[in-house]
Symmetry: C2
Subunit: 396 residues, 2 copies
């Protein structure tokens, strides 16, 4: 049997993960990596989780190991609803919250429910690579809009919306992966107006929003535009390995997402939901998150100092107010992939920016993660990167 003839058009449509191939090149322990996208494990509440799991599994209460409802554990949804009220003065009824297996599954469910082959989907250019992969499975037509320092290029966005039939806009408005950029409040209002005018759904993915180390909290899109679907996640604030995220959607869309969730995996691990809810009952998440944000802020400062000290003057960089990434732009005639190969030889790694673009790829961009190495190691890594610049003749 020739299996290669068996596969669906949708899965044949998905390209191999570029990042995965890159990461396989840098399995070497001697390499200092700015390439990953992992939260710093020093902040994982391991002991708190141990206590929470003891409570949940105490007294032979069998419920935590049984099947549960597709919507997700009610007290966990209550925690999520309360946080929206506290942080954005948003009223989110529990009936509109669906617990998902990470916000990655939120993207998959939204695409499953909304996208017919060829449907117009507006996305940021560049954008989160794994979101592109999730969407590609359902074969929409992508319409990428350029990102500026304060958010999408509005003129370009308006032009796309006028020329094409766009069903939804997939947006990461806070501390975006890969660029670290955040939309200004002014742009958010303009975008809300534009989407309203063109009857376009807004899908807001916000895994990093809580990790703000500078500036003032931005407005929630949900307060600006009725037809907004929110995606959230505990991956960056508590634990990514638990795979716990959520969707917030208007009732009619929620009902379809519910069907898709049920068909996908019935419900998200109930034991994990129970442990997370117990952790949130017993601990102050804001306090926990502020420790992470403080540390990440210092790491970001250190990386910017190192860039200024060691890298050539022509290197431009974003100045994130939160999240986990800085985005570098080198000269237009330079190739980050060529630089990457030299960097690995020198013992340092980053992610070349190319795979984050759907078209109009900027080959002269780099994604740098600052959450996972100590300041000393960061300095050493940046010296190595400087040597790689020299090696390929990119030093002036």
């Amino acid at each position: 049997m020739n299996y290669s003839n068996l596969f669906s058009e949708r899965i044949n449509n998905v390209p191999k993960s570029f990042i995965r191939e890159i990461l396989s090149l840098i399995q070497n322990d001697d390499i200092i990596s700015f390439a990953g996208g992992l939260p710093n494990p020093d902040f994982f509440p391991v002991e708190e989780f141990r206590q929470a799991s003891n409570k949940v599994l105490m007294d032979c209460d069998t419920d935590a190991l049984q099947y549960t409802i597709t919507e997700g554990y009610r007290p966990l949804r209550e925690h999520i609803s309360k946080r929206y009220k506290q942080k954005f003065n948003l009223d989110v009824p529990l009936e509109q919250i669906l617990i998902t297996s990470g916000s990655q599954q939120g993207i998959d469910l939204l695409a499953k429910v909304l996208m017919n082959k060829g449907d117009g989907l507006l996305i940021e250019n560049p954008t989160y690579l794994a979101a592109i992969q999730s969407f590609i499975v359902y074969q929409p037509e992508f319409f990428p809009v350029s990102l500026q320092n304060d958010g999408p290029d509005l003129a370009e966005m308006e032009q796309i919306l006028e020329k094409h039939d766009i069903k939804a806009f997939y947006s990461i408005p806070n501390f975006q992966n890969p660029t670290g950029l955040t939309y200004s409040d002014e742009k958010r209002r303009h975008i809300a107006d534009l989407l309203k005018k063109h009857n376009t759904l807004l899908l807001v993915d916000d895994p990093y929003g809580d990790i703000r180390f500078e500036g003032t909290p931005a407005e929630s899109f949900k307060n600006l535009y009725e037809h907004t679907i929110l995606m959230g996640s505990f991956s960056k604030t508590v634990s990514p390995g638990c795979r716990l995220g959520w969707l917030v959607a208007p009732k009619e869309i929620y009902e379809k997402l519910y069907i898709a969730k049920q068909a996908s995996d019935l419900h998200t691990s109930y034991l994990t939901q129970r442990i997370m809810a117990q952790f949130l009952d017993d601990h102050d998440l804001d306090q926990h998150v502020s420790k992470i944000s403080d540390f990440y802020g210092k790491q970001k400062d250190a990386m910017i100092r190192a860039i200024n000290e060691y890298l050539p003057d022509f290197v431009e960089y974003t100045k994130p107010e939160g999240g986990m990434f800085i985005w570098l732009t080198i000269r237009e005639d330079m190739d980050a992939l060529k630089l990457f190969r030299a960097a690995v030889e020198e013992g340092v790694a980053f992610v070349p920016g190319e795979p984050f673009f759907v078209n109009r790829k900027k080959k002269n961009t780099l994604r740098m993660n600052f959450t996972n190495v100590s300041e000393d190691v960061m300095m050493e890594g940046m010296k190595r990167l400087a040597r790689a610049f020299q090696k390929v003749g990119y030093s002036k």
Copy 2:
């Protein structure tokens, strides 16, 4: 914005869950329910899981809360591989095992990877309702084959395979949900030959196979037919709430399933995988499963005694050697849905068989679960059901 115009054809294609609507009718605590499909929670290893989670989260080992690989936790895959060797003398390399969020996700991933709209999919008639729902999303054309007491009707199956282009056969060969039926070894060999002749993939879903209380273990299809994909689950043997299942697939298909899994949710809850692996390290799963099987076997006997004692003589029933369900057939001119309404009035519930059929629906069938009520309650429930038979005039 009119949301109803936004949905994908695939999701509009999925009918409302009949069982869910039925279950909403019987939320009343006074109703004795043979309708559910839940494992008996008395056998959940709650204390063992508490100890396992303590070990996993001991000494602030942060790894269990971090992202992990898409394939799943290696020691968990080792446990699964070892069991295939012990039980079926099957060699399953770890590289062919993909951990999924329940075997429900296994079905979803297989459909995602294999099914184009209109592709031929052979299924049992009746079959597992939630599998139909998962497949429907990807819009295959269903070809249902009738089930006999020893497995599918071979003549019918051959006719379908000759007339139509069938990509895969979705099969639940052991203690099927809803009928409790098991394929004979002889039929398995015939089916393997048929599928080979027609170049058709075999997708084996086996959540109940471990729960055998009578008879001799059947041959694994994987030993009979090379192009077999296996789905397995810890839901019925350890805990359904953990959502832990797996797929076993040949390398080329595995690679596509890997991509689909990554796009769906990156990986299954790592914390849950770690706890399950620790539980399997520290305890004998076969011993645990034999306790469940012994109990379920007694429950099955009790239900058959109660059927014989209380229900009309024309009621036919399957005699499962394992699993969780008995399938009743009443006279052809009778309607199980009408009986259901009367039953609920009398304070007892079951699932009418109709929704488990894709076509040629037999309205005179009932699914009865025997795992979740004590023998006393079972007898009382059956008396009530007998009264319902009388009430609708089905007593002779």
